[in-house]
Symmetry: C2
Subunit: 317 residues, 2 copies
């Protein structure tokens, strides 16, 4: 008989097909598991799959007294209450690097689209303004990539891939990270110093209490009126209210965002702006990245049920 | 007294400020010069500035009997009647490479935006579909860049810069060009072979009678239903009617276009499609690229009026 696995977050069905072939999936589809399943059904659940950004607290864990493995689909695990995990001796897994190329690609896509005003440009063509030679202040030439200073915040697998990609555009690349890495980019000892130096800030840092709202009004101010911010990490890293204010009063030139403070919500103040490019948290949303993330989930579940250490485990503490 | 220079194409005023400081500009602003200026005014014009893609035939040259130098703003000179130029002994100049980085950037911008469906994604967020969890077939995961085969058609300065940029996205890069170049990418001896191999075709070839409509129904068909075409060169390289048909019946997955058959027109059949990203010929439209192109124009004019060979001349024949 296949082992039972609870699916906590709402995932498209197609993503779970491969996993469903191997395990009996109890799909809570984003609802509290006790609203979907009986206490008896939950009583023998030992493993669950969740999206790392989804809040998963002690209250949910307590619904499954035998819960011993939490497997995150994706790199992040910031929604998981780590203290509760540690207290219960639960094993935590994720998919490190499986979506790194795909997420780095969306970061560069957003950077290029917002700095070259691609949405405005497409609208200028489709709406007939180009054919009608209609003047458009938004279409004035902007600074391109050549010689631009790009700051990468975070130098994990995704940060590294972002840096490698943007360096190909004849830019200068700098970074801030808790520690210096063996990479060919200029290191800045503080986020403030990086913000002062760069004109595009690419956020690729892991979410957590130490990075919460680190990109605030002060940092945005340092980017300056020709500056841009791109966030593909987690909404919590930016003070979203400060960002909306900086974009509205043109303290900075624009933003490319794949993540938001409260997903799937993007506030009206943001969606009303012409100088932003917004995507619905699709960083890891490519075919090859899903296959790789599914591979990590399968490998983690298999190891857990075989009583072995997770191949893609999160080391706590 | 400053030398007189005719400005043939319609250029934004700001682009001509530096040049206007040095020369007396007669701005025809895209109209036939004899509709704007008298025969007497045109009689002593020896040099003119034009956009290389604008049709400039013997009829126009004949309006200026002393015309001896045609200076193109940008890399291309495909609109200029080269036989008429040769016959009159006119010197032809352009701005080679001055906009190459900027044009290569827009090529990659279009490639990323169309393959990751960025416009659809932005609309999904702004329109509230994401917040409303509205299903969208267009938002299904697509193949990303990792391991993709990118074909570059043309290996001049722009093609080279496109190849260098896309290689950074962990892709495989191949190219077709009249001759093999000393570059670290796989060479294909025909455009057909390249089309058969790649899933994204990046057009970066010089326009001319030898490249006219070379990307036709046959080549598009070879790209296949997961294939994309990106054109930042000239609209004439693609058979636009065949492209619209291939996009409409989904023979290919999408297209990113900065250039069109008849600019500034993008046909309704194209602007109605969701699987295209359209920009209004802004490849070279960045601050640094304009400065560099202006530099080439100034240097060419200065050399011409000093009786010296153009530093950025086009070698005919």
């Amino acid at each position: 008989m296949p082992e039972k696995v609870l699916v906590f977050s709402r995932f498209p069905k197609a993503l779970m097909l491969r996993i469903g072939d191997r395990y009996e999936l109890l799909d809570a589809a984003g609802k509290p598991p006790n609203e979907v399943f009986s206490a008896e059904q939950l009583s023998d659940i030992r493993a669950m799959i969740t999206a790392g950004g989804t809040r998963l607290g002690a209250d949910t864990m307590d619904l499954m007294p035998k819960l011993a493995a939490i497997v995150c689909y994706g790199t992040g695990y910031d929604g998981v209450d780590l203290a509760a995990v540690a207290k219960r001796g639960i094993t935590l897994g994720h998919s490190p690097g499986a979506n790194a190329a795909s997420v780095a690609d969306i970061a560069v896509t957003l950077m290029l689209a917002v700095t070259r005003r691609l949405l405005v440009a497409d609208d200028y063509v489709r709406g007939g303004s180009w054919a009608g030679a209609k003047p458009s202040p938004m279409m004035r030439p902007q600074a391109g990539m050549l010689g631009r200073r790009i700051g990468v915040y975070g130098m994990g697998e995704i940060g590294r891939k972002i840096a490698a990609r943007v360096a190909g555009f004849e830019t200068e690349v700098g970074y801030f990270s808790r520690s210096r890495h063996d990479v060919p980019y200029q290191y800045f000892p503080t986020l403030e110093a990086l913000g002062e130096w760069c004109s595009v800030l690419m956020i690729a840092v892991r979410a957590g209490s130490d990075t919460h709202h680190t990109v605030d009004a002060n940092i945005l101010n340092k980017l300056g009126k020709d500056g841009y911010v791109v966030n593909i990490a987690r909404g919590s890293v930016i003070n979203q209210q400060a960002l909306v204010a900086a974009l509205t009063d043109q303290t900075i030139a624009g933003a490319g965002l794949d993540v938001y403070a409260k997903e799937p919500q993007a506030p009206d103040a943001l969606t009303a702006l012409p100088n932003v490019v917004l995507s619905p948290h699709i960083g890891g949303h490519t075919l090859e990245s899903h296959v790789a993330m599914q591979g990590c989930v399968m490998a983690n579940l298999e190891a857990y049920f075989a009583g072995k250490p997770l191949p893609y485990g999160v080391k706590l503490g």
